[in-house]
């Protein structure tokens, strides 16, 4: 099972804060976005259009990063911490 996290503005788009998904074999981020698209098409489009950053186990990832059972995937909108 993998854990999927949505932060900040993405929570409203995904309509959830966290999700989990059973995977039989390792999959790529691209494959994960296809799966997400089936239930949350808007979220899937945002991932495919690279409008968000993605981390796997708290490390930045890319479209071809492979996700394994037990991993934590997070979708991260552009950061805005600190101060101008």
């Amino acid at each position: 099972m993998i854990t999927i996290k949505y932060f900040a503005s993405l929570r409203a788009i995904a309509e959830k804060e966290e999700d989990s998904l059973d995977i039989e074999n390792p999959i790529s981020i691209d494959q994960l976005s296809d799966i997400i698209s089936k239930t949350a098409p808007k979220m899937g489009a945002i991932i495919r259009e690279k409008k968000v950053m993605i981390s796997v186990n708290q490390e930045m990832a890319s479209a071809d990063t492979i996700i394994h059972d037990g991993d934590e995937v997070a979708f991260l909108p552009p950061f805005s911490g600190g101060a101008k």
Partner: protein, 145 residues
């Protein structure tokens, strides 16, 4: 409200004392000759709108890890003695403290450079998000200055 100044990387709900944080960093070495601080505070105006409240959210563990990477890289690249980075989360009123960076070194030059680099790097790499509340509603800030 007092908070522990033991850890050099902190993400916390509570406010912090700039004086206490500087004093804590002064104890790191007797060879400190220069200290540069950056303090970010809640600003009232944003893009012509009056902000009534700010709210910060972070990705626990990853945000702390990124701040520690910034600290380690600052020490290595700029030759400073040490650095502390404290960022608040949760609701923050206008004028309140948001983020503090304290860079300590033997001389001022490297601490200025390290401090400026660290705040820019924090904004670029650290998963922390700001939500502004104005009269027209709430918006997650997504620009990258």
């Amino acid at each position: 409200m007092s908070t522990t100044t033991d850890s050099k990387i902190r993400i916390q709900l509570e406010d912090f004392s700039v004086t206490d944080e500087i004093e804590a960093m002064k104890k790191v070495s007797r060879n400190i000759g220069g200290i540069t601080t950056f303090l970010g505070t809640g600003r009232e105006m944003s893009k012509g709108e009056t902000i009534s409240e700010l709210n910060f959210e972070h990705y626990p563990k990853m945000a702390e890890k990124k701040l520690e990477e910034i600290r380690v890289q600052s020490i290595k690249d700029f030759g400073i003695i040490d650095m502390s980075i404290i960022h608040r989360i949760g609701p923050i009123d206008i004028g309140e403290n948001i983020v503090l960076i304290v860079a300590v070194g033997e001389h001022r030059a490297e601490t200025f450079k390290a401090c400026e680099w660290a705040i820019a790097e924090l904004k670029r790499t650290t998963p922390i998000w700001k939500r502004e509340t104005t009269s027209t509603g709430e918006v997650w800030v997504q620009d990258t200055p």
